[in-house]
């Protein structure tokens, strides 16, 4: 398949890894923000092939993982209603709420459906005029154009029985929060390639300058990841801190303007709580007041929610790159993909799931 195979070429990756080893003279800590990249890094063994001086820490870029527990519980309450068809990307179904997950709601008779695209929900809403169709609108900037378009279409076409439970998050405020933390160890970032495909790179220039940290826009295939790491290490070694684009075939500095226009028409920024991390100013998007009729949060009163997080789960530290998944005492013991305590163990972008799936158990306490 064109644009996949040539970027999965082992020989090209070897060349880049040799180059990384050649330019590295001292220890560096680099964070990949995006959970999709974490999975790619662990799956392809980059953590084991890089020079020992290069430490990759895994970031909070897993929308499923950072969706606040209150909102998961709210989703569960809405999905339990007999008048509701609750739609979601598949990833959300196994995320543990305080007591249940969406799969359990489904097994108890709730009409919970996995969709491929948010536009599918509009079709479901048209076919079921006597039902309320609710979509769980989670995601980073990459997913926002699709979710925003679904709301805009519902609004324009008068699909009144469609609403969205919105938990959108934005990357740049999260980077700012990580770099502002007194415990910060991160010296360079791999910026998420598909977030930047939508948003461009202009939001990162002030961050690179303010914190003196290189930001390299990086893709997802092994060759892309190796190039992103090489560019970051080169900048660190040369004492530069710039925004650099190593995903040229998809990212331009201004991003996708038509997509940004629809996002801005439908969403406005808001403070957002990140599960395990806490509230980050201006880190979310919510629906603008003119789309209030399609806002599931105001449309469905769910009453008082008793929110209970697992006392064993250390997902918050993992999401901030302060703890490797296999350093958590519960990893692989109380917490497995079959019995997850936190969202990073179930999501296809969760760091804990990546470590479990690809056998990174060696760092467990006592080893």
């Amino acid at each position: 398949m064109k644009h996949l195979t040539e970027y999965r070429d082992a020989e090209k990756v070897r060349v880049l890894l040799d180059e990384i080893a050649a330019v590295t003279t001292q220890p560096w800590v680099i964070m990949e923000i995006c959970g999709g990249q974490t999975h790619s890094i662990i799956r392809h063994g980059f953590d084991q092939m890089l020079p020992p001086e290069i430490e990759l820490v895994h970031g909070p870029g897993c929308p499923v993982c950072v969706t606040p527990l209150e909102l998961i519980d709210r989703a569960l309450a809405i999905a339990s209603r007999p008048d509701v068809i609750f739609t979601s990307f598949g990833d959300m179904l196994r995320v543990p709420g305080s007591k249940k997950d969406l799969f359990q709601i489904k097994s108890e008779g709730g009409d919970v459906r996995v969709v491929y695209s948010p536009l599918d929900c509009l079709q479901i809403a048209r076919e079921n005029p006597d039902k309320e169709v609710v979509f769980f609108g989670v995601g980073f900037e990459t997913t926002a154009p699709a979710n925003a378009m679904a709301v805009m279409q519902a609004h324009e076409q008068g699909i009144d029985n469609f609403s969205m439970l919105v938990s959108h998050v934005r990357v740049p405020p999260a980077i700012e929060a990580l770099l502002s933390s007194p415990e910060n160890r991160i010296q360079a970032f791999l910026a998420a390639g598909h977030v930047c495909t939508v948003m461009g790179t202009w939001e990162y220039d002030p961050l690179a300058e303010k914190f003196n940290v290189p930001m390299v826009v990086t893709g997802f295939e092994p060759v892309d990841l190796a190039r992103g790491i090489l560019h970051a290490v080169r900048q660190l070694e040369e004492g530069r801190a710039e925004v650099e684009n190593a995903y040229e075939r998809l990212v331009v500095p201004e991003g996708n303007i038509p997509a940004q226009q629809v996002i801005n028409a439908v969403f406005e920024t808001c403070d957002r709580k990140w599960r395990g991390v806490g509230s980050i100013p201006a880190s979310g998007w919510k629906l603008r007041p003119e789309f209030a009729a399609h806002d599931a949060e105001t449309r469905f009163a769910v009453g008082h929610l008793d929110v209970v997080e697992s006392p064993l789960c250390q997902a918050g530290l993992v999401l901030q790159g302060r703890l490797k998944p296999n350093e958590c005492p519960a990893f692989g013991v109380e917490c497995t993909p079959r019995t997850p305590l936190g969202a990073p163990m179930v999501s296809s972008e969760g760091a804990c799931a990546a470590y479990y799936q690809f056998g990174r158990v060696a760092a467990k306490a006592g080893d």
């Binding site: 398949m1 064109k2 644009h3 996949l4 040539e6 020989e11 090209k12 060349v15 880049l16 040799d18 180059e19 995006c34 959970g35 999709g36 870029g61 897993c62 929308p63 499923v64 990307f89 990833d91 491929y116 695209s117 948010p118 536009l119 599918d120 989670v138 995601g139 980073f140 990459t142 997913t143 154009p145 699709a146 378009m149 279409q153 324009e156 076409q157 998420a192 598909h194 977030v195 495909t197 939508v198 997802f220 060759v223 190039r227 040229e248 075939r249 998809l250 990212v251 996708n256 038509p258 997509a259 629809v262 999501s347 296809s348 972008e349």
Partner: protein
């Protein structure tokens, strides 16, 4: 969730006022919304995420990335050849 898959546009049409297309992912064909890639034409490769094309893949840039990699490799070999083999 931020994963995207490259696919080739094989058909472009309009539905419910939206620009849509058929995308060939190496044999598997699915529908996607092309509203955000007004410049895209049949035969272009796009990146598809949750049923939306996020951008057209820039062929020129893709080729340049791959040729830059070949240069690094060639440079490595040249430098390697200059280093005397250990006794």
């Amino acid at each position: 969730m931020c994963l995207g898959v490259p696919g080739k546009i094989t058909e472009i049409y309009e539905r419910e006022g939206l620009r849509m297309g058929r995308i060939d992912f190496g044999g598997i064909v699915k529908e996607a919304c092309l509203a955000y890639v007004p410049e895209a034409e049949i035969g272009d490769y796009t990146l598809i995420h949750v049923g939306f094309a996020l951008n057209v893949i820039d062929e020129q840039e893709a080729l340049e990335t791959l040729s830059l990699l070949r240069e690094i490799d060639a440079l490595g070999e040249e430098l390697g050849a200059d280093i005397p083999a250990p006794e």
